[in-house]
């Protein structure tokens, strides 16, 4: 019976996950005629003038976003959990979750308006920061924080709800004991709740890292909306897209996606070992 439940998923994963990945491996090591190419595709993409800037863009974005995500989500989850008024806690969870319910691309479209000082509901804030036109908002130096803010806004709510659930899992006896021993709310959060959330936080880290290295929708839409002022080769995934569909070089595109996979795996390994994700208590 259990195999019956797993079968549809397995079939789909093989068809749309494993096989394309293997095809990418095949493409990455062959040339456009199908002959073996060794590491030629890799040296080609790495020496491309767009490659290192794209790596830097994604890395900077990841640092800002992951740190913000881990710190703010943990903090907000603990705060919401500490709220004793039931309707307030419920409303907060709902409000946090709401932006995440918008589909990815449409929420980015929403941000196109938020970032434009002439149309933005927070235009006052943008003017206060010294921005008077859309072009000034999206100059290259501002992009990593801008993408991090968009990603946080769309993605963090779901994680807050998950963390809230994880906090519910901590036995009330433990918290009760701490309180009797005289621990304040802050001490409970620091000494009890956060350490016990460690696995959840590293889980969030891995999932977000995998999504973050694949940064694509945000810069791609901004690029189209700004008529290419945000370059269409800003992130690594975009560069792979350029290779496949601008230069008709699927092999180069596959090489970039393999490199991304390797980097994401290596970074995930850090989270897994440091976060003790697979340790049994």
């Amino acid at each position: 019976m259990s195999y019956g439940f797993v079968a549809p998923y397995t079939a789909l994963v093989i068809a749309f996950g494993v096989l394309p990945a293997l095809y990418a491996v095949f493409l990455a090591f062959t040339d456009n005629e199908g002959g073996f190419a060794g590491i030629a595709n890799f040296t080609k993409v790495v020496s491309d003038f767009r490659f290192l800037p794209a790596v830097a863009h994604v890395a900077l974005y990841l640092v800002i976003w992951l740190v913000a995500l881990v710190v703010l989500v943990s903090f907000l989850a603990v705060v919401v959990h500490a709220v004793r008024v039931r309707w307030l806690s419920r409303t907060l969870r709902f409000v946090f979750y709401l932006p995440g319910a918008l589909a990815g691309a449409s929420s980015v479209l929403l941000w196109l308006f938020v970032l434009d000082p002439t149309a933005s509901p927070v235009s006052g804030l943008l003017h206060l920061l010294g921005f008077s036109s859309f072009v000034q908002v999206i100059v290259p130096a501002n992009l990593p924080p801008v993408f991090a803010i968009i990603a946080f806004w769309t993605g963090a709510g779901g994680w807050i709800v998950i963390m809230y659930g994880a906090l519910n899992n901590i036995s009330p006896d433990v918290i009760e004991a701490a309180r009797i021993d005289g621990a304040t709310a802050v001490q409970i959060a620091r000494r009890i709740q956060l350490p016990m959330l460690r696995k959840w936080i590293s889980y969030m880290g891995i999932m977000s890292l995998a999504a973050g290295t694949q940064l694509f929708v945000e810069p791609q839409l901004l690029s189209q909306a700004s008529n290419a002022i945000v370059p269409n080769d800003y992130s690594l995934n975009q560069l792979a897209y350029q290779y496949a569909f601008q230069q008709n070089d699927f092999n180069g595109a596959a090489a970039i996606s393999l490199l991304l996979l390797v980097i994401a795996l290596a970074l995930s390994a850090v989270f897994v070992t440091r976060g003790g994700l697979f340790e049994k208590d």
Partner: protein
Amino acid sequence: MFRFTRAGRTGPWMRAISVAGASAIALTLAGCGGDDGTSAGSYGFPQVTQDDKAPITVWVDADRASAADAFKKANPDVKINVVTYDGSANGSNSFRTKVQLFDRAGSGWPDVVFSTQNNDAAWASQKSNGKQAFAAVLNGGLVQKTTLDSFTKGSLDPCTVEGKVYCLRNDLAQVALWYNKDLLDKFGYTVPTTWEEYQALGEKVAKEHPGYIVGAVGDSFASEIYFWSGKCQANGVTGPKTVTVSTGTTECKRVASMLDVLIKNGTTPNLSVFTPEFVKKYTGKVLLMPGPAWYAGAIFNNPQSLNVPAGQLGVAAPLTWQGDTPATGNVGGGTWFVSSHSKNLKAAEKFVEFVTTADDYQVNVAPGYPAYAPAAEKWLKKQESSGYYATDLQALLTAGSQIWNGWGSGVFSQEAIWAKTITPAIASGKNLVDMLPEWETAIKNQAQVNGYTVK
């Protein structure tokens, strides 16, 4: 041939083997007139077996749907399927993307494609990964020579690669000088004829009437309005895979230093003319504006944009640099392609010839300046008789023949390079003159990754 390539879906290896097998068979059959193979073709490219009854599939953008309608009305006996797509506009590059996927699949190509871009012939004329070039050669007998010769001189340059014509031009987008006659008269200014006079007027406007503008550099095609007109060698495409780039020339520097002055004094904002911001700030305040022919309909005579009232808009011949021969730039202008894979080349040819030359579309319906010279004359008359313009439109005719031919149509987008390198730099207050070397490097890099040899 289709049959064999289709069977090769199992993977590239199988495909390679079956393609090899298919070509071997096609080769043997060619002598005996095999009915399923390709033949060398009488038009200068390999073609599939023709079927005069086969319906043709036509890709147009939303604006060109009316061209297909006009054709249907005039030719009810030709079966066409119209597919609306984005016209490859705004760097979406969807025309090329889709064709590459069809190339991989070995089937599915549309018979006729309209593109808003000028850089499609550069790739569509070339074999791609060993696959037959998508674009049919049009001057090898498919389109009558007399028809091709009637296009405005130079208008087919973006379609021409090594002497072969691969597309027909829908409209010309020659840059001329638009101006508001009422405002100029009110302020007591005269229309400049040289860029030097233009700059001097811009400096005067900044002092005497701040808030009014004489141009704009915020669009990705600013390089085509100012630098192309100035004969700056930023895009010297000399062959299918060679380009000469040199932005350090005096031609480039004179344009850059003029723009630096006008950007700094606020008469040439770094704002796209298509932004709501531009419309809000500058409606009624555009004194002069060098720009393509289609600016008339797209921004001036458009209720959604600047909405200049009738009787105010004038157009003058392109500005020249003192002591230099007249030259101007060009911003886009659509192109029509016929697929070399088409099963009904006759119908496809009939279609592209109709939409580029027939009065039913080009004179009566089309918003842009026709590239086909006989249609252009009639179009100008029709526009002049509308009573909207404050001057006649002969300046557009002049400009149409003055497009500088030293700026080519490569496969990479100059507009994208300008947008990503220069626009943010101007926004952060840098001088264009200082940005010229960086611009050159960016162009060279982009050309190189697209397989160009850069000089």
